[in-house]
């Protein structure tokens, strides 16, 4: 009994001490990084395009869902909209809509890196709403 309590205590100590570094921002970054890795892993341009498109659409759906559930506070509204617009711009650029030239097939790998890097810069500031979004993204995928 004593041994069990003692071992249990030691195990608890290490469990609690493990740093909980994961957060929404990091998960969003991972999401785009995984997409870029998939894009670069395939040779076929149509598949690359499909992977990127699907990734944008999944996230857009998640954003809509968050919005419809009324989870975006007034305080976070502008930051949320800014993120949503940023995502829409990337979708438009990929497809060549809204005044954008369609991304050439030869540039899709670079474009996937651009998305990762641009999102990393955008997420450098505190986006509290995204902590909620990421939960939904994970549920959708």
């Amino acid at each position: 009994m004593k041994t069990r309590i003692f071992v249990g205590f030691i195990v608890m100590m290490f469990v609690f001490v493990t740093p909980l570094s994961a957060n929404g921002k990091v998960d969003i970054q991972k999401y785009f990084n995984d997409t870029a890795n998939k894009v670069k892993a395939t040779e076929n341009a149509a598949e690359k395009r499909e992977i990127l498109n699907e990734s944008f659409q999944n996230l857009s759906k998640a954003l809509e869902k968050v919005e419809n559930m009324g989870l975006v506070s007034n305080e976070n509204r502008d930051v949320f909209d800014q993120f949503k617009n940023n995502l829409q711009e990337k979708q438009d650029e990929l497809a060549g809509n809204n005044g954008y030239e369609r991304i050439p097939d030869s540039q899709l790998n670079n474009f996937s890196n651009y998305v990762v890097q641009d999102m990393e810069q955008a997420l450098s500031i505190s986006l509290v709403a995204l902590l909620l979004i990421i939960i939904l993204v994970i549920l959708l995928i």
């Binding site: 930051v79 651009y114 990393e120 810069q121 500031i125």
Partner: protein, 376 residues
Amino acid sequence: MQNSHRQSTFHIYIACVGLMVFCSLLFSSCAQLPIQNYSQVLKENEHAPIYSIVCIVHGDNNYIYHDTTGNKLSADKETITQIIRVAQQNQNAEVFIFHQKPASNFLLFFPTKDGDFYYYRNGQLIANESYWRDQKESQLNPELELFNSYSADNKSEMKKIFLYFGHQIPEYGGEGYDESYPERTFTVSDLATGLINFLGDSEKFDMSILSTCYGGTPFTIDKLGALSKIIIASPENLHLSYFDLAPLEQLDEKLRIGNNISFAKNFAQNAFDKLTMNVQTSVSIAIYDVDSTKQYLNEIRMSYTNTLTNLKLQFQTFPSIVKQCDCAELPSYLLPQMNKGVTIFYRPARFGRLKNKQNHSGWECWKYDAKITNIR
């Protein structure tokens, strides 16, 4: 029987608490290991350093980024590795490194120190200890205390370089800069106020390198220009992989007396080449020869200050209405002398709306839509 069981449980409890306290003491003592006997090392290295580098690496927020092969990296830790290499390579320099880390607890209840300090002199590690950062206002007081404890006596004769790595330093507000201390504020003015004390008898740093997003604004250069002869900064976003520090590794070869501007150009060109090779977003690195920029800064100071005052009053809770742009896009800032004293290395983003923008003035300003303001 029951008494004996209670006694045993009590003993286990005491033993556990004792173990926690022991671990806590062990943990905190590990953080303060004097690497070498300070005076002994100084005797062995009798020549006084001729360069002094103060480097602050902010790591208390999200500093995760991915390289082009998809590896997850932590910008602050990568920077610490680079600056330690700089410190080891320079046989005539003293290097102060402050790593501002997130707050954390040991065993849930015991707060651990949230700063790491390294002091190198003539290529050797003299001290490495943990410290407590400012808990309220952030004006670098604990860092200054460590600086004063170790810095060489010949401060006024040394070439001084200041390096800062972190996210954009706010020009107003400043709450939330530290993820661990959301209430604490840190602004450009706080940095400037804190830095004055690192100068000792000297009037200015020979060079300051701001490895942050949006460091090249009139306000930031004006404030930090009071403390530095030359500033290298990015007027736009700067990717978290930051400026490459390799040119700082051989200061004796590359930074000769009176050659600060050419060294700054060499540093900026190298950083620009490295970033443009790996980054698809825009890359902008500017060198500000502070004295030469004064005329322009004097002309626009009033206008910029008014904008900042408006931002403070109106936009604290609506940050996305406020955007930053090249000052050259705003008529009131587009003056003939705006390029004086500024050398800019610029490449637009490979994608996005601004991919065809070919030039940048080197100055970044605020813009906001007045119509939106009225609606709100």
